[in-house]
């Protein structure tokens, strides 16, 4: 089949080249239209259901909201597990589906089930809504608004009614989370003294307010001729009109809303607050849709809000458009990578010209590289894979093989054509090109499949690693396959077209001429003492590999995004005002750090967000000078951490944005050891958790043992006294309604102001909703008409409540986490299980589960090792099929540690640790090395079997000399192409690829030395080639 393909390409070279050109042009066209992102979608197959339950306590939310939702959704096909968190006023249910299920179908199933939930939820709660599907990086843009003349209510109205709708209209925007500002509402602010003055209860005012205003339709009338719509007007529309609505009429006297309440615009009780550069403002976080392209959506949003410039200017509003712009990092990375790839490309051309000393040959090799990569990109785009840094990484590391494919073929055809010219009876050019191409074809095909196969385990990595690195593997494998296809078709066609009629001089390229004598001498020298060489090689490998365990590992290297995200958390119960005050102090300190250009803060949570953050929680966007280098960015991070360490009352996290997102995406606990305790009784769960934690601390190796979900939050408990209620003829819910109306606010109607709709709310004035004394003094009207303070009917005490209640698969959960130091995790887990079972008594209702990241890691590791071993075995089989000798397969394996040593040395020189990127670098290196070895061994076979030469030192040297140009060229071209990326890799765009490139360069250096110098000697001594 291969032969047919090659022959077809030579015969129909014009067609093949034309198709190639067309493909190239089409690929460039598609590429120019394709968006670029940072990472592939790495978010899990997750649907978040959010339900607001205003006024309900944590436990009420859990029982009344979370549990019905969990029950409703249970049993859906494809659910992997369900986790939920209930906090005061909010329920969040996370439904994790199996990874291979369709996220849109899952969403449809969840929505259908949720539709039937409406009647199960208490009045005023919900609806339960699936949070918009966000892209993995989630934030597309963070912007803010401040004003020196507008108040926060005016500012928020402008944001809600102008800015947010504009942004939401941009395709690719899933949501806009707004933090800060005062949401305007028309408030009927009860004056408790006036209530007492007129003997009017809160509920009476609420009832009157419900009858006061609103927006209503009235239907229509219709007769034989006409239909007339009814329109209602005359309802109170102005504040003073609303004030005239009667609450009570007695003895000819009307007491109005205006008599008992102050009616004015006020702020809705807020969930969040914002601050920009230490000044009160509104922070907007633009959330990208699932699958949306960060760069495209960012640009579209920026374009859309340009239309609002005039509104901002007219209203004295300052827009801070880029408090955080992830697209900056993409642009910088792409610009950096593109620049370095261009430099690398020039190196490639230079090396090819110098080595081949023939422009046509160099041209053919050079053309094969972009053609292979562009067609790979085209296939990826057609498969719906978004271009991102990982895909580019895959393409970049495939460069070695792509270059090799182009060089091996061209160089061999070039050499055979030259040799053909020397023959007395030269063969037809077509035949020579075909034979030369077929001569290397078999080994090239096997080598390509071997290299591709090596990457298969990468495609099967589970979890976030898999989602992040699978596109890299896919891009790599596709590039290799495309390169192979180009080598089978376009390269022979171009060679015949351009080289057949070329005046080929039968001289070796000058550089090769210079190198070959030295190479021959070295080989002769080495071949004289093969054992010495082999022992030295083994010792060198062992010394190099011995340092490997000491090299630190990390998931991905520190990304230099020019931006940091800082989370701070105070003790639960801290107010938004205090969080913002603390934030402003921090902002002041942050801005003093050289390199920090802007700092914005949001505290609490957004109205529609899926977060369960309380008012004690803040997040800061710290944007840096765009020109800071990687090390300078690290210095800023160190200073940020130093500032935060010195600040009292805070726990914090400071990360770059993508690490932050990855951290947030990893589901479940990230500590190695977790003991989950399931049960129904929360207090019993707490008690058991404390017992287990105490036991866990006694186990050797346990560190940072923590009981989760026990964060206390202060609450003011109002315990109604039924005897008092009875005494005064009150029903419990009358009191509850009054309390709810006074402090939570009762939305009684909608109020229209132009095209804006606001809520009309009855509540106490904000100044009367501040202290426990305000609660105690709340007037409650008795059946006898007396207004008495709430403290008469209830015991009011400040207590410690639960901040949150967690569920796993519908069951209440309490977890104890621990790290393990200086001990094997498996034996620790065994020990833990045994000790806990012996010392802690569990009833039938409460039972433990021993799990944790360590268990998950162990599973993932086991899978990876099994898969890698399997792949390695298949690779060995393929090598065997390619070269037909077990002896040679085993001999080739010595190449691997040698290549590995070069990579390790590169890691040590560059001072970095190992990351998944480094792992990919090693895998690539493994491929290139095996490929070079196959090519050398198969060339020896060709010389012995096809050309009938005897297997001896001369043939070994001849074969090696003939392979010298292509091995050297491949190594040099790959290394030089990678060099600009590898140098100073701690900079934007090169953080992941840099270490890969360094490892590839290092490994290539060592494996090329081995391939060229040691392999021939080893083959000569231990190899066996039969005619």
């Amino acid at each position: 089949m291969l032969a047919t393909l090659v022959r077809f390409s030579i015969n129909y070279r014009g067609v093949v080249i034309a198709i190639a050109m067309l493909l190239m042009i089409y690929s460039i066209y598609q590429l120019s239209r394709a968006g670029l992102d940072i990472f592939p979608e790495f978010s899990p197959n997750l649907i978040v259901v959010q339900t607001e339950a205003p006024g309900y306590s944590t436990q009420q939310v859990e029982i009344l909201v979370t549990r019905p939702i969990e029950t409703t959704l249970s049993g859906l096909i494809g659910i992997d597990h369900v986790r939920s968190e209930s906090i005061q006023g909010l329920s969040i249910v996370n439904i994790y589906f199996e990874e291979d299920t369709d996220i849109y179908r899952n969403r449809q199933l969840v929505s259908e089930r949720l539709a039937g939930l409406i009647n199960l939820l208490p009045e005023g709660v919900g609806p339960a809504v699936p949070v918009p599907m966000a892209s993995s990086s989630a934030t597309i843009l963070t912007m803010g608004v401040t004003s020196s003349s507008k108040n926060m209510m005016e500012l928020r109205s402008m944001v809600d009614w102008n800015l947010v709708p504009t942004i939401l209209s941009v395709p690719g925007v899933a949501d806009v989370n707004v933090f800060g500002g005062d949401i305007k509402q028309l408030q009927i602010q009860l004056d408790e003294n006036k209530l007492r003055q007129y003997d009017i209860g809160i509920n009476e005012v609420a009832d009157a307010a419900k009858q006061a205003t609103g927006i209503f339709g009235a239907g229509f009338i219709e007769n034989n001729n006409q239909r007339l719509s009814l329109s209602l007007t005359g309802l109170p529309e102005q504040i003073d009109e609303l004030g005239q609505v009667v609450v009570k009429h007695s003895d000819g006297v009307s007491i109005t809303l205006g008599d008992v309440a102050n009616i004015d615009y006020g702020a809705e009780p807020s969930f969040g607050a914002g601050s920009i550069l230490g000044k009160e403002g509104i922070v907007l976080m633009v959330i990208g849709q699932y699958g949306a392209n960060t760069l495209n959506v960012s640009n579209a949003v920026e374009e859309a809000i340009q239309g609002l410039d005039k509104i901002f200017a007219d209203n004295d509003i300052k827009l801070h458009p880029t408090l955080f712009r992830p697209a900056n990092y993409i642009e910088r990375s792409v610009s950096s990578i593109t620049g370095h790839l261009l430099i690398g490309g020039l190196f490639v051309v230079g090396v090819l010209v110098v080595f081949l000393f023939n422009f046509r040959t160099a041209f053919i090799s050079v053309m094969a590289i972009p053609l292979s990569l562009l067609t790979a990109i085209l296939v990826l785009l057609e498969l719906g894979v978004n271009l991102n840094i990982m895909v580019i990484g895959g393409l970049a590391i495939a460069l070695g093989e792509v270059v090799d494919d182009a060089i091996i073929d061209t160089e061999n055809i070039f050499r055979r054509l030259r040799q053909n010219k020397l023959l007395s009876n030269p063969l037809p050019m077509k035949e020579v090109v075909y034979n030369a191409s077929m001569e290397v074809r078999g080994s090239v095909v096997y080598a390509s499949f071997i290299v591709a196969l090596v990457f298969v385990p990468l495609l099967h990595l589970s979890g976030i690693t898999g989602r992040l690195f699978a596109p890299l593997g896919m891009a790599y494998i596709l590039s290799i396959m495309m390169s192979l296809f180009v080598a089978l078709t376009v390269t022979p066609a171009l060679c015949y077209l351009l080289l057949a009629k070329d005046k080929l001089k039968n001289i070796e390229p000058p550089l090769i001429n210079v190198l070959q004598p030295y190479y021959e001498k070295s080989l002769t020298l080495i071949s004289r003492s093969p054992y010495l060489v082999i022992i030295s090689t083994i010792l060198f490998c062992l010394s190099g590999l011995s340092v490997l365990p000491g090299v630190g590992g990390q998931f991905i290297p520190n990304l230099r995004e020019g931006h940091y995200i800082v989370h701070t958390s105070s003790v639960s119960g801290t107010s938004l005002k205090e969080s913002i005050r603390v934030g402003n102090q921090l902002t002041k300190s942050f801005l003093e750090i050289p390199g920090v250009t802007s700092v914005s803060q949001w505290a609490g949570r957004a109205e529609r967000g899926a977060d369960t953050f309380g008012s004690h929680y803040s997040e800061f966007e710290v944007d840096l000078d765009i020109n800071l280098s990687g090390s300078e960015q690290q210095q800023v991070l160190d200073r940020l951490r130093e500032t935060l360490n010195n600040f009292p009352g805070l726990r914090y996290e400071a990360h770059n944005f993508l690490s932050e997102r990855i951290h947030e995406t990893i589901s479940g606990y990230t500590t190695p050891v977790v003991v989950n305790i399931y049960g129904n009784d929360l207090d019993a769960l707490d008690k058991k958790a404390t017992e287990v934690a105490a036991v866990m601390k006694t186990i050797d190796g346990a560190s940072s043992v923590q009981v989760q979900s026990s964060t206390p939050t202060p609450l003011l408990q109002i315990a109604l006294r039924l005897d008092k209620l009875k005494e005064h003829g009150l029903a419990p819910l009358e009191v509850v309604d009054s309390i709810k109306t006074a402090f939570e606010g009762l939305s009684v109607a909608k109020y229209q102001d132009d095209n804006r709709i606001f809520n009309v709310v009855v509540s106490l004035a904000e100044s009367k909703r501040q202290t426990p004394s305000d609660v105690r003094q709340l007037p409650i009207k008795t059946a006898g008409g007396l207004l008495l303070p709430l403290s008469e009917f209830a015991d009011i005490r400040q207590q410690s409540g639960r901040y949150n209640i967690l569920h796993q698969d519908g069951q209440r959960l309490q977890s104890i986490t621990s790290n393990v130091v200086n001990r094997d995790i498996v034996s620790f887990m065994d020990d833990l299980e045994e000790t806990v079972s012996a010392q802690v008594e569990f009833s039938a209702e409460i039972y433990p589960e021993f799990t944790g990241a360590a268990i998950e890691q162990a599973k993932a590791k086991e899978e990876l090792i099994v898969l890698s071993s399997l792949v390695l075995a298949i690779v060995m089989m393929l090598i065997y099929i390619a070269i037909g000798s077990f002896r040679h397969v085993l001999l080739m394996l010595i190449n691997l540690p040698f290549a590995l040593v070069g990579g390790v040395i590169a890691v040590l020189i560059t001072g970095g640790g190992l990351s998944v990127g480094s792992l990919v670098g090693f895998v690539t290196l493994f491929g290139i090395t095996i490929r070079n070895s196959i090519m050398l061994v198969s060339h020896y076979q060709y010389l012995v079997q096809e050309e009938g030469l005897p297997w001896n030192l001369d043939v070994a040297i001849q074969g090696a000399k003939e392979r010298l140009p292509s091995i050297l060229m491949t190594a040099l071209v790959t290394a030089l192409a990678m060099l600009p990326i590898a140098i100073n890799s701690d900079n934007p765009g090169r953080e992941i690829m840099g270490p890969m490139a360094a490892i590839i360069i290092g490994g290539l250096a060592s494996s090329t030395i081995l391939n060229l110098l040691i392999m021939p000697a080893v083959m000569l001594k231990f190899g066996k080639f039969n005619k």
Binding site: S570, T574, R651, Y652, S869, F886, S915
Partner: protein
């Protein structure tokens, strides 16, 4: 052939096994693959100091937090010395502007009764004169006994009528006094106090019914109070004590009193706020602003800065809640130290830092 297959199978098996075991052995100790595959490495975590316990000590039974001055300054803590204040404690009650029309009607009714009595008194006087003349005539045998008895009967009838009117007048007085008290009754009944009544009737003065909460009473007899139609103490006007009221505008209120208000701005039926000086002496102490108060364990607390770097959390204890803050009577609680008026919650957060969850673990 068979040999070849067995050989290849064995070689593959050995390679696979060797790889599997090698990777497992290498990885067992340092968990390199764990770090690479699944999670962030430890160095990504923010290594926060865990020495908060060392910063907390107990001084005189109170928890004290040691903070560097620089740290305290960077965190924006504001400390102030408390200001001494003296306040006259007051409580709020509610009053109603009474309609004086019933009083005017009563006055008219009273005048009618008096007029009736006067007429009857005159008739009786005349009857007595008639009887005197009739008795003289009867003695002179000029008048029959029958006619004399008839005159006497008519006189006794009028006397009875006068008695009835007198009874009605007494009843009226009793009724008025029972309903309106002595002072207002005097306005009505006493001609000497006609002027006061006229002031009420002409609305130069306003009659106000003050109702005290059940638990409160006037501090002393004739106590002056301040009233206002608005819930604003500063707009309140002095009202003069008149009398204890015999009636209340709400049966569930406590004591009630009549007060006179020299204001023409209030109208009949208006509900008024009344500020009444509470019993007890004028309170003196420190004013603790509301923002300095931290609620913890069902008690209000404040942080006191002691020395340069020590923040002590002290309970407000017997402090009295007043408008916009608290009156701290126990001056020794603070002494000469400064009080944290901004950032107290941050100090509480530092004190209870152990309770802040580590985000990494969820």
């Amino acid at each position: 052939m068979m040999n070849w297959i067995i050989k290849s199978f064995l070689v593959l098996l050995v390679i696979s096994l060797a790889t599997f075991l090698a990777v497992r052995t290498i990885d067992k100790d340092n968990g390199l693959i764990n770090d690479l595959i699944v999670n962030e490495s430890a160095d990504e975590d923010d290594d926060q100091e865990e020495d908060e316990e060392e910063r907390i000590s107990i001084i005189d039974g109170f928890k004290a937090l040691a903070l560097d001055e620089e740290v305290a300054e960077a965190s924006g803590l504001r400390v102030e010395s408390l200001k001494s204040i003296s306040i006259k404690p007051e409580f709020i009650a509610y009053a109603e502007v009474l309609d004086v029309q019933p009083l005017v009607s009563l006055k008219a009714e009273y005048e009618d009764l008096l007029a009736d009595r006067k007429v009857l008194q005159n008739i009786l006087y005349n009857h007595n004169k008639v009887i005197e003349r009739a008795e003289a005539l009867h003695k002179a045998k000029s008048l029959s006994t029958r006619d004399l008895e008839k005159s006497r009967f008519e006189r006794d009838q009028k006397a009875s009528e006068l008695n009835a009117v007198n009874t009605r007048v007494n009843g009226f007085v009793f009724k008025v006094k029972s309903n309106w008290g002595n002072m207002l009754s005097n306005f009505l009944l006493d001609k000497d106090q006609q002027g006061e009544f006229d002031e009420l009737a002409s609305q130069q003065k306003t009659l106000v019914l003050l109702s005290l909460p059940k638990s409160e009473s006037l501090n002393y007899q004739n106590q002056t109070v301040f009233v206002s139609a608005l819930n604003k103490r500063e707009s309140a006007q002095k009202a003069s004590y008149l009398d204890q009221a015999k009636q209340v505008n709400n049966p569930l209120y406590g004591e009630s009193y009549f007060y006179l208000l020299e204001s023409q701005k209030v109208r009949t039926g208006m509900r008024l706020f009344a500020w009444i000086e509470d019993s007890g002496n004028i309170s003196e102490g420190y004013f603790v602003p509301e923002q300095a108060v931290i609620w913890y364990a069902n008690e209000p607390w404040l942080y006191v800065k002691h020395g340069e770097a020590l923040f002590i959390r002290k309970p407000l204890g017997k402090a009295k809640k007043i408008d916009n803050g608290w009156l701290l009577v126990d001056k020794d609680l603070v002494g000469d130290d400064l009080v944290v008026t901004e950032g107290g919650q941050t100090l509480l957060s530092e004190e209870f830092k152990w309770a802040i969850p580590d985000e990494n673990d969820d």
